[in-house]
Subunit: 353 residues, 2 copies
């Protein structure tokens, strides 16, 4: 007689890609983005009382497909337990972006979309498409960590916890500066033509990615020779490594890169009518449990910036990822030990809610 | 009757600017630079037995005038005690550079000048102009720290001590990378025209300096708001700070910047027939006392790189400058506490020789 072993037989977790039509979407700036869209993917199934929702937005150059590396059975973001929504950030080419927005907001004319613009749209997705009123956790890496902070500050009744990984609640002056360097490197190429390029501004894009890859890892990563095997590529020299980076990120349109960069530069949890620019007030408003996880070698978001933020948050824990991967320690699938550390942080956070 | 107080009356230390004609100067590459020149300045007077010589070369974008901020009575580099020679680095516009070299090595056609090319020319200056056989110390900041290491390695019978400040004996992969980003930012401007620009490639230069100023300080410096008073300038915003940087460094010609950058990227104490690329052998050859002083927040030359180098040097002390100024902690006149710390290091070093 055969024994039925129900507990070990699980259905393959369901993943669904979608596009939410926001209609005419009014931005923080007052500009109305006509027929705006929000791309997304969901993993797992929404339970009956809609209490198993995790939101996990995308980051700079990220698309919802890239978040899959953090999602899996047995992981912190387990689609057999949670309904995980991954909304695409404006500018990433899947949500409204310079590449998919018609005139008058096409290409270089795409308006600034702030972090608050993003999360407001994400809230509508949660409510209007899925009828969600509570989110167990907003998890985020890098620019999506910034979104997690923003979520916690303005929607305290909806958000039960946040897990910002390698990101700050407000872009710091130095963070703004290195982004400005990347931006100007791209725009130095006259083929950029204010965004109205006929073919991609190749020299500018190459300069952009070269500057970028000096920042998103750490000096220690290079000292350890790991650039020779960056994301599965092979490189003998740093010049080879740069070519690999350029190739891996070549799917990004120049205007899209600049649109997301503008979002990053403007990120500021306090830039909301509720807070009027008062950072302590905004961070103090994040009452839910927060697991803030910077990386000790992050050149974009040094841990000291998060330490200061955590000191202004009533219910936050600071956990330091130790990794030579620098900023990319928080990039899922990049560094196994960092992934495990981050997973444990999220698991410990979810126990509190 | 008037008392003569000889001990308190000192002559104003003498400073002399000069230009040493190297003639046709053969570079490491085999290329001969016709009618090469070496700009320099001396401070103080050479004593009778020529035993009071300190060599203090220039750094990236530095000219001999910039070294004056470290030289003065009562300082470590005291011109009433020492005869201090400040040779200009090739590419800085005063020694042979793209801007002052005739065809066929003018402008973008200026050949690579290595760190060894520089110090070989400096040795000739010392010997042929001043009859110097012994140097009490080679002191250097940044690229001139790199020169100090090179001096110590190949001229052990001439150099009695070295004091490399915020610089490594060999440019690391990450250091090479951030320089490559700066270079490509400049060259992304088609007005650069391979170096044959009619007017300066302004967008490229602006991008170059913007990228550069993200690196030469530290995140902490910006967190502390010091960018608002960078080198005596005033800035409300980081964008203002960038304009101040661009203005302060606007004396640099684009080809000169690229020539010095190539020297920096290629710096390698082991790249000499004596050592054949063996870094341990090259560093082991630096037998004189060495005072190696990195800054804890240096993004170009993190202290770990110097720690590794010092471990391979038989007679070196590692002293960590603690400063939020990052790389510029070693730039004389920039940060008073760091200046005092560096002075003490040099004083302690000079006691050993």
């Amino acid at each position: 007689m055969q024994t039925l072993s129900c507990t070990t037989v699980t259905a393959q977790p369901k993943s669904t890609e979608g596009e939410f039509k926001l209609g005419d979407y009014k931005l923080d700036s007052g500009v109305v983005l006509a027929d705006a869209i929000l791309g997304y993917e969901t993993h797992g199934e929404l339970n009956a009382d809609r209490s198993n929702v995790i939101l996990y937005p995308t980051w700079y150059t990220g698309r919802h497909m890239d978040n899959r590396a953090a999602i899996g059975e047995g992981r912190a973001l387990d689609p057999t337990k949670y309904f995980i929504i991954v909304p695409d950030m404006f500018g990433n080419g899947l949500s409204s972006s310079p590449t998919n927005t018609p005139s008058p907001h096409d290409r270089g004319r795409f308006p600034l979309t702030t972090t608050y613009d993003n999360i407001r749209a994400q809230k509508r997705l949660c409510e209007e498409v899925f009828g969600i009123k509570r989110i167990r956790s907003v998890v985020g890496f890098s620019m999506s960590a910034q979104q997690a902070f923003h979520w916690g500050a303005v929607y305290p009744d909806m958000v039960q916890s946040i897990a910002p990984i390698c990101g700050t609640a407000k872009t710091t002056p130095h963070d703004w500066l290195h982004l400005e360097g990347m931006k100007r490197a791209l725009q130095a190429d006259s083929n950029w033509a204010g965004g109205d390029y006929e073919k991609p501004p190749e020299a500018g894009l190459r300069a952009f990615h070269t500057v970028s890859c000096g920042w998103f890892l750490s000096q220690t990563y290079f000292r350890n020779g790991k650039y020779k095997n960056f994301l599965g590529t092979k490189a003998e020299t740093v010049a080879d490594f740069i070519e690999n980076v350029i190739s891996l990120f070549s799917y990004n349109d120049a205007n899209n890169l600049l649109a997301m960069l503008a979002t990053w530069q403007s990120a500021d949890v306090s830039n909301h009518p509720k807070f009027g620019g008062d950072l302590a007030k905004a961070l103090g408003a994040i009452r839910c449990p927060a697991m803030v996880m910077p990386c000790d070698n992050d050149l974009y978001f040094p841990p000291e910036d998060n330490e200061i933020e955590v000191s202004m948050m009533p219910n936050a824990e600071f956990r330091l990822i130790k990794s030579d991967a620098g900023h990319l320690a928080g990039f899922p699938g990049f560094a196994a030990e960092a992934d495990a550390f981050v997973d444990q942080g999220i698991i410990d956070l979810l126990k509190q809610v």
